[in-house]
């Protein structure tokens, strides 16, 4: 009797698993073929001295050794980390403030929400094209405004550090809408009763924000920070199109350097090694972040 029951249970479990696998398979097929395989292939390639369209020979770890001595690698890694540090808090904070504003249910917020989100649907080249138009010297909008104030030409896109500000503004404008929507979804999940109870208990709006809203948004905040960090690490288009990685190599990011190494100079093996190193850095940073943000939960 007991054995028969056990068998039935197992059969049911297999059937359940089978259904799950059927749903998983289409995704797994693409995941394995177009993500997992290329990644493994990339790691494999990083051990070779390989030219795109040319010769290939096993090189052991020489790509990695060269990488640690490569000034350009460290420079572009620094630039990337710099952007992560300045952009992640800014975009998360601005996204949160926008979401709070829209969630306040004032008149006209639907229109404002659409305005704030719409840049996100534009493509990279349109966004950068627009902001180049705004920041460019001689004829740009910013120049014409500062000229009226008596400030001379500032060359936003050609001056060290100022160029980062221009890129940060562009990136915030472009991507903040996405974070805003995530925060908004999180805010709307917080039941009104909690706010009501808090107000009855005499909590002021500051207390409500720090004791209710932010703790209840914990998971959303963790997610947004994680996604934003990864997005910031991948910075390429804005710096490449708006400043060409310049002045000099001041805004050359690691993805830019990988692209240049692999596709301009055709050193695929070295580019693969750089990519893997980049992967490790992002992985470690996300792990660390998850640990820091996750531990407060308990």
């Amino acid at each position: 009797m007991q054995m028969a029951m056990g068998k039935e249970k197992r059969q049911r479990a297999i059937k359940k698993n089978l259904v799950a696998w059927c749903f998983l398979l289409p995704f797994l097929y693409f995941f394995v073929n177009f993500l997992l395989y290329p990644i493994l292939k990339g790691i494999h390639l990083s051990l070779y001295d390989s030219t795109l369209g040319g010769s290939q020979s096993f090189a052991r770890l020489s790509n990695y050794i060269a990488m640690f001595q490569d000034k350009n690698f460290w420079n572009s890694m620094f630039n990337t980390l710099f952007f992560v540090v300045i952009s992640t808090p800014t975009i998360v904070l601005v996204g949160f403030i926008f979401a709070m504003f829209i969630n306040s249910k004032l008149k006209g917020t639907i229109f404002i929400r659409a305005c704030l989100f719409s840049p996100y649907v534009l493509s990279m080249s349109v966004v950068t094209g627009l902001w180049i138009f705004i920041f460019q010297p001689y004829t740009g909008l910013v120049t014409q405004m500062t000229a009226k104030l008596g400030v001379g030409e500032m060359y936003w896109l050609n001056t060290k550090w100022l160029v980062w500000l221009a890129i940060l503004i562009t990136t915030v404008w472009w991507t903040v809408g996405f974070n805003m929507v995530l925060f908004l979804a999180g805010l709307q999940d917080i039941p009104d009763e909690i706010y009501e109870a808090a107000r009855i208990d005499g909590a002021n709006s500051r207390q409500i924000l720090f004791r209710i809203t932010i703790p209840m948004l914990k998971d959303t905040i963790t997610l947004v920070i994680l996604l934003q960090t990864i997005a910031s690490f991948k910075l390429f288009g804005q710096t490449y199109l708006m400043a060409g990685g310049g002045p000099g190599t001041h805004t050359k990011t690691i993805v830019h350097y990988i692209y240049e190494t692999g596709f301009t100079n055709r050193k695929m093996g070295y580019a693969a090694a750089l990519s893997f190193a980049f992967f490790v850095v992002v992985f470690l940073v996300t792990l660390l972040q998850n640990k820091l943000l996750g531990s407060k939960e308990e």
Binding site: T128, P137, Y138, I258, F279
Partner: protein, 452 residues
């Protein structure tokens, strides 16, 4: 339970982080006005692939043809392919256009996976590198079938189309750097010649005297010369000056960089004099726009900008050869050529069709000249069809002293390096000596990586 949660989290993290690798290089580069391969006006060049419109008839050999031409260049090339398809009884060409910034990457990837097109466009300066890696088919034997006479091409192109005595490409054009002038402004300045041209006197001091005079007469907010201060244009200007002052990027056998030299420092300091004297004010983002928008009275740009200027309402301009600073005539140039990439699956019938097409194209480059470029064959340059196009015959003669990069591997790296170093110098981030030293060091590394 706790452990399972952690495992799940780690997996999720792993997946998220792995996306970084998979989605790494996905940026798009906007078309700068100084990229010769395409028309400046398009800022968002979606990957357009256009099949030729002629109906496929039976018995024709189908071949594929890839190019990086978008905008106006793409339209003209499409029209040429259509014309060929309508005339040819044996060949049907399927024409594909790619975004220029990803074109060479796509082409290389296709060649390595045996899915290369029958024929493709390549800049002449890239040929050597591809031939060295065995990526292109030699053309000499095939060319005898259509009686190609290589001496019909201009002298420069005869040289750049072969590597070690073997032909690997058929050139369509010479494209080079010019100077364009606003006719209305130069008339007011009293510097317009009777024949409607502008003649900048030969010589360095003469050049500066000419343009300083213009600068002093202009209203505030206007400038003598425009030209984008990053990407291609500084490099075209630099190589023009470097070769006018008798220098070059490397020695004859392409192993030693020659950029930390007096000639290079001279060329770089002339550029900086133009910048510092505000003849060519620094950090310009779009030189063509400053010219069409009446901010600059003259502009440095290639022949490929001519169609854009022609299409600008109310702009009266004239395009002239780039001024000469020394007794040695020279100007930066390159050539769009047609090549046969290696592909195991290619048949002899396809090869024959490709040769038929290339021969037809090089004989009909007066159509291609609408894009501003100078035809590859002397006979076409001298034809009425070409001479009747406006402006072109004013600058066609500079093709005689056009100077391309020497035949070396690593031109793509050299290009990227000089974009970066020149832009940094013009922005005031580094001086002439540092720039020359950096260029020498970085270009030597590039050369070494190919000459191991």
């Amino acid at each position: 339970m706790r452990k399972k949660g952690l495992w799940k989290k780690l997996t999720a993290l792993g997946l998220a982080a792995s996306m970084v690798l998979a989605m790494g290089a996905c940026g798009k580069k906007e078309t700068p006005a100084e990229t010769p391969a395409e028309t400046p006006a398009t800022s968002e060049g979606e990957t357009a692939s256009e099949g030729s419109e002629a109906p496929a008839s039976e018995g024709k050999t189908k071949i594929t043809f890839w190019s990086p031409f978008s905008g106006g260049d793409g339209d003209i090339m499409t029209a040429m392919v259509d014309e060929f398809n309508a005339q040819s009884e044996t060949t049907e060409v399927e024409f594909m256009i790619f975004k220029s910034e990803e074109y060479y990457t796509k082409l290389l990837a296709a060649i390595t996976s045996d899915s290369a097109p029958t024929l493709a466009i390549s800049h002449a300066t890239r040929i050597k590198e591809y031939v060295t890696d065995g990526l292109l088919e030699p053309l000499d034997e095939l060319a005898t079938t259509t009686n190609v006479d290589w001496t019909e091409f201009t002298e420069t192109l005869q040289q750049v189309s072969q590597v070690d005595g073997t032909h690997y490409c058929m050139p369509l054009d010479t494209h080079l750097l010019l100077m364009h002038f606003n006719v209305d402004d130069f008339e007011k300045l009293g510097l317009l010649e009777a024949d409607g041209t502008v003649q900048v006197p030969r010589g360095e001091e003469e050049f500066f005297k000419f343009f300083e005079g213009i600068r002093d007469q202009l209203d505030a907010g206007r400038m003598p010369l425009s030209g984008t201060s990053m990407n291609g244009l500084p490099m075209y200007l630099w190589y023009t000056l470097l070769t006018q002052y008798g220098g070059d990027v490397c020695d004859a056998d392409g192993t030693t960089a020659t950029l930390d030299t007096e000639e290079n420092k001279k060329a770089l300091s002339v550029i900086m004099r133009m910048v510092d004297e505000e003849i060519w004010p620094k950090n310009q983002k779009n030189g063509a726009e400053l010219f069409t928008g009446n901010i600059a009275v003259a502009t440095i740009n290639g022949d490929w900008a001519v169609p854009t200027f022609e299409g600008t309402d109310g702009l009266n301009f004239v395009s002239m050869p780039f001024p000469q600073f020394t007794d040695k005539d020279s100007v930066y140039a390159d050539s769009h050529t047609m090549v046969l990439p290696v592909n195991k699956n290619k048949t002899d019938a396809e090869r024959a069709s490709a040769m038929e097409f290339m021969t037809w194209m090089t004989n009909h480059t007066e159509m291609w000249a609408q894009a501003g470029h100078i035809p590859s064959k002397t006979a076409v340059i001298e034809s009425d069809a070409f001479k009747n196009l406006p402006y072109r015959s004013l600058y066609a003669e500079s093709a005689k002293y056009a100077k391309t990069y020497p035949q070396i591997c690593g031109v793509a790296g050299l290009t990227e390096m000089s974009y970066r170093e020149l832009a940094a110098m013009i922005a005031g981030e580094q001086d002439v000596d540092t720039t020359a030293a950096n260029m020498q060091k970085e270009f030597q590394e590039i050369l070494d990586s190919y000459n191991k």
